[in-house]
Amino acid sequence: MAVKNFVVGLFDDEAVLFPAVKKVRTAGYKLHDVYTPFPVHGLDHAMGLRETSLHTAGFIYGITGTTTALSFMSWVFNVDWPLNIGGKPHFPLPAFIPITFELTVLFAAVGMVYTFCYLCQLMPGVKKHIFHPRQTDDKFVMVIELTEKTNAEEVKNFLASAGAHEINEQRAEAGWWFGRYDKDDEPYLRKIQTTNA
C-alpha cells in the first residue's frame, strides 16, 4: 500500500516481451510487474518468480476433507449414536468412501479458490490501478518501478530500445483498495481532492 512512480512500456508481441524482460533484469531495474491479457508460458520464469505453492495448499485442504469426513462419520456411527442398521458394521469403510471422496474434493477446491483469491487480493469490490486499459485485451504491459536510484528518462529510452512502442510515466497506488471501477477513486487522489477543497 504505497503510492509509487512507474514507467510503463507497452509491447505488442510476446516474442518481443521475453528478451525485454531479460534485459530489464540484467540492467538491474526494479521490475514491478508485467500485465498480460492471457497466461504467457515461461514469463514467470523469465521474470524470476518462484513457483507457486498453491498445489501444496490444495493437497493440505484435500487431506483435511478426507479426515473430516472419515472421522465425523465414524464418530456418528460408533460414539454419538450407535445404531444397528440391518446388522451392518458400525465402521463400514466401503460405504464411507463416496462421501469421503466428495468431501476431499470439496475441501480442496473451495480451499484452493479462497487461497487463490487471498493471495491475489481478488474480491468483489477490490480495485487496483490499471496501467493500460488494453492490458486485458491485446497489449503486454511492462511496469518498472522508479526508485531514487533510477532516472525516468533513462528507463524510457531503455524501454524504447527494448521494443516498447508506447511509453509513459505514471504515479499510482501499487496495492489494492476498496473502490468502484466507474469512478477515479484512487486513495491518494482522494486525499489530494480533499486537501484542495
Binding site: 516474442a15 521475453f18 510487474d33 508485467v34 500485465y35 498480460t36 491479457p37 492471457f38 497466461p39 504467457v40 514469463l43 514467470d44 518468480l49 507457486t52 498453491l54 498445489h55 490444495g58 484435500g62 465425523f72 462419520m73 456418528v76 454419538d80 449414536w81 442398521i85 463400514p92 460405504a95 463416496p98 462421501i99 471422496f101 466428495e102 468431501l103 474434493v105 470439496l106 480442496a108 477446491a109 473451495v110 484452493m112 479458490v113 487463490f116 483469491c117 493471495l119 491475489c120 487480493q121 481478488l122 474480491m123 468483489p124 469490490g125 480495485k127 487496483k128 490499471i130 486499459p133 488494453r134 492490458q135 486485458t136 485485451d137 491485446d138 489494492w176 468502484r180 471501477y181 466507474d182
Partner: protein, 478 residues
Amino acid sequence: MHLKYESTLREPLVDGVKDYHQVTEDIISPIEGKPGKLWYVGFFISLTLLGFGAFSVFWQIYFGVGVWNLNKTIGWGWDITNFVWWVGIGHAGTLISAILLLFRQGWRTGVNRAAEAMTIFAVMCAGQFPIIHMGRVWMAFFILPYPNTRGPVWVNFNSPLLWDVFAISTYFTVSLLFWYSGLLPDFASVRDRAKTKLRKLLYGIAAFGWTGSTKHWQRHEALSLVLAGLATPLVLSVHTIVSFDFATSVIPGWHTTIFPPYFVAGAIFSGFAMVQTLLIITRKILHLEEYITLGHMEAMNKVIVLTGSVVGCAYLTELFMAWYGANPYEFATFFKYRAAGPLGWSYWIMMTCNVITPQVFWFRKMRRSVAVTFVMSIIVNIGMWFERFVIICTSLYRDYLPSSWSYYRPSWPEVGFYMGTFGLFFTCYFLFAKYFPVIALAEIKSILKTSGENYKEKMVVYEEMPAEKFAHDVAHAH
C-alpha cells in the same frame, strides 16, 4: 517463442485472420450491443415455461405428492427420470473443461465456457427433482447431517441417496468455482473496455479486481490445473453415485454391476448432444462460426458416436446377462416387460435414438453437417431421456406381486415441472449468452499463435524444412 509445433495437417481451431484485439472484439461486442429480436422471443418463452413450472411445483406442494401419478408400485417416475437426465447433461461440460484440459486438447478452448455454463444450469435443474419429490419440501434440510434436537438422530451414511446429496452439491460447487475462476480474466476484459458507467461498475465487481499480473496468471494456471484434476474423478464419481441409487437396490433391472460405467458413458453421450444443440444456436446467433468451427462439431460428434456405442454395448450386455444369469425375475424384467409388454415402446424408442441413429456419425460428411448434427443432438437427448425412463419405470411396473402391477403416465404437474426446468435452464442460458463472454477469451488468445488460421500459414516454411535443420534452428534460436 512457441516451442509447440503443430502440423499444418491439423485444421486451425480459429478461422480467419485474427489478432488478439480482433478476438476480444468478436467475443465481447455481443455483450455491449442490444440483444436481437430472437433473443427476446427466446427469453420470453423461457420465462413463460419457468412460470408454468413454478405453478406446477406450487400445485404439488400445496396439495401434496398425490397430484403426481406415482403410485405404490411406481414410486419413481418422471421426477427421478428428469433428475438423472439433467445431471447427465451436466457431465459433458466438466468433461470438456476438465478431462480435455488434462489431455491437452486445444479444441476445448472454443467450447468450454458455454459447456461449463450448461453444466451449472443443468445441475441446478437436476437438484430440484429429488427435493420436490420428498413431498414435504420444508423438511428438505433433514438430509443434512446437522446436530439436531431429535437425539441427535443422524443421517444414514450407508445410503446411496445420501451419497447423492454430497455428490451433487459438491459437483455443483466445484463446477461453479471452476467456471467462475476462469471467468475472472474475461470479466476484466469487458470491464476495461466498457464505455458505460454501469457496465464498468458491474463488471468491475464481477472481475474481483483482476489485473492480469504475471504472478496472478501463474497461480491461475496452477489453480485451473488442480481444479481440472479434481473435477475429473469428481465427474466420474457423480454419475457413478447416481447409478448406485439403483444398483445397490435389489430390484431386477437395477441390481447390476455394469451401471456405473454405463451411466457415465450415457451421461457424456447426452451431455455432448446438449452442448451441440446449444452451441449450434449460439454460434449462429452470436456469429461465432470462426471460433466454434465445424472442426469442433466434428470432434464432439466423434465423442457422441463413441459414447453412444458404449451405451449400446451396455444395453446388449444387460440383455445377455439377463439371459445368462439364469435369474427368472431378471429374465422376465428384460425380455417380457422391458423389450416387450405395455411399456415396451419406450425401450424401442431408446434403442433407436441412442444406438441406431448415432451411427450416421461414422461418416465424415455427416459429422460436419450442421443440420444433421442439430437434428441428431435432439434425437440423442430424447433417447437418453427414455433410457432413464426405461430403467426406472420398466423395472418397477411389473414387480413380484402381479396384483400390484400397474401402468404409469404422468399427470400435468409432473409434465409442468419438467417444462419448468427447461424454462429455468434456458432463462439462465439466455442471460449467460447476453451478459457473459461465451468463449473463454484468454484461453483462445493463448492458443491463437499455434492454432489460428493465419499463424498456421506461416508454418508451411517449417513443414518443408528437413527435421534436422528445424531442430538445429530451434536449438540455436535466441
